[in-house]
């Protein structure tokens, strides 16, 4: 009954099913990574505030020291910013940060809203006194907290959906091909 051709057919169906289920799982992992990276950025922003208000560090050094304390890929983002600022290639912090984000874009799972929050902070960095920067820091942290709540809600809502959708589409494909 189960000849060679049938066997190959069954194996192919299983491969398709497993692949699509995996795709669903991998896609749902992205949502988790976004929450993780946002929390990492929030922690880094707190540390940057400390570096500026208490240590009075220069911005490239401050970026370097928070990069050392962060995990990948946030580490790479701040390292790149620090490098670009040290090399004096850019007019202001905003431009350096922008191109650092462009360089690390494929490793960041955050969306454009989250990136805008950080870029807004970088617009005022180094262009005002400590008090002005502190108020900008508190605004950024409030915005980051809002983004974290939004992304966590989105994750809880969609993580199961993407997993079961992956399996369902695989099963659909198998039925269509059978």
């Amino acid at each position: 009954m189960y000849g060679g051709r049938n066997m190959i057919k069954i194996i192919g169906c299983v491969v398709i099913l497993v692949a699509s289920t995996m795709a669903g799982f991998i896609y749902s992992e992205r949502l988790k990574y976004r929450v993780f990276q946002l929390k990492e950025i929030q922690r880094a922003v707190y540390q940057l505030q400390n570096e500026i208000t208490y240590v009075h560090a220069l911005l490239p050094d401050a970026f370097k020291s928070i990069a050392e304390k962060s995990k990948e890929p946030i580490k790479e983002l701040f390292n790149k910013t620090s490098e670009l600022l040290t090399n004096n290639e850019y007019e202001n912090v905003y431009a350096a940060m922008n191109s650092a984000i462009d360089l690390t874009k494929e490793k960041l799972y955050v969306n454009s809203d989250d990136i805008n929050v950080i870029l807004d902070l970088s617009k005022t960095l180094g262009e005002s006194d400590i008090q002005g920067q502190n108020s900008m820091f508190s605004l950024t942290i409030a915005n980051l907290k809002k983004q974290i709540t939004i992304s966590e809600e989105y994750m809880n809502k969609n993580i199961k959906m993407y997993r079961s959708l992956g399996f369902s589409f695989g099963a659909m494909l198998v039925i269509a091909l059978l």
Partner: protein, 65 residues
């Protein structure tokens, strides 16, 4: 003779579409659920279109004297 496996295929597709619709609706994506339903209807139509075509041609030959 009519192929029975086609009936099973249509049934399984229908069940899967119901599942996908439920999943999408519970995720709050009602608009995408409607699109998925439409896609399912089209997929099933593609499956039976050969049979419908056969039926029409046989009816046509019936009335050709």
């Amino acid at each position: 003779m009519l192929d029975v496996s086609l009936l099973f295929k249509i049934g399984a597709t229908g069940i899967l579409i119901i599942i996908i619709d439920k999943i999408l609706k519970s995720g709050g994506k009602d608009d995408i659920a409607v699109v998925a339903n439409l896609a399912g209807v089209i997929i099933i139509l593609m499956m039976v279109i050969n049979l419908v075509n056969k039926l029409f041609t046989s009816v046509k030959t019936l009335f050709q004297f």
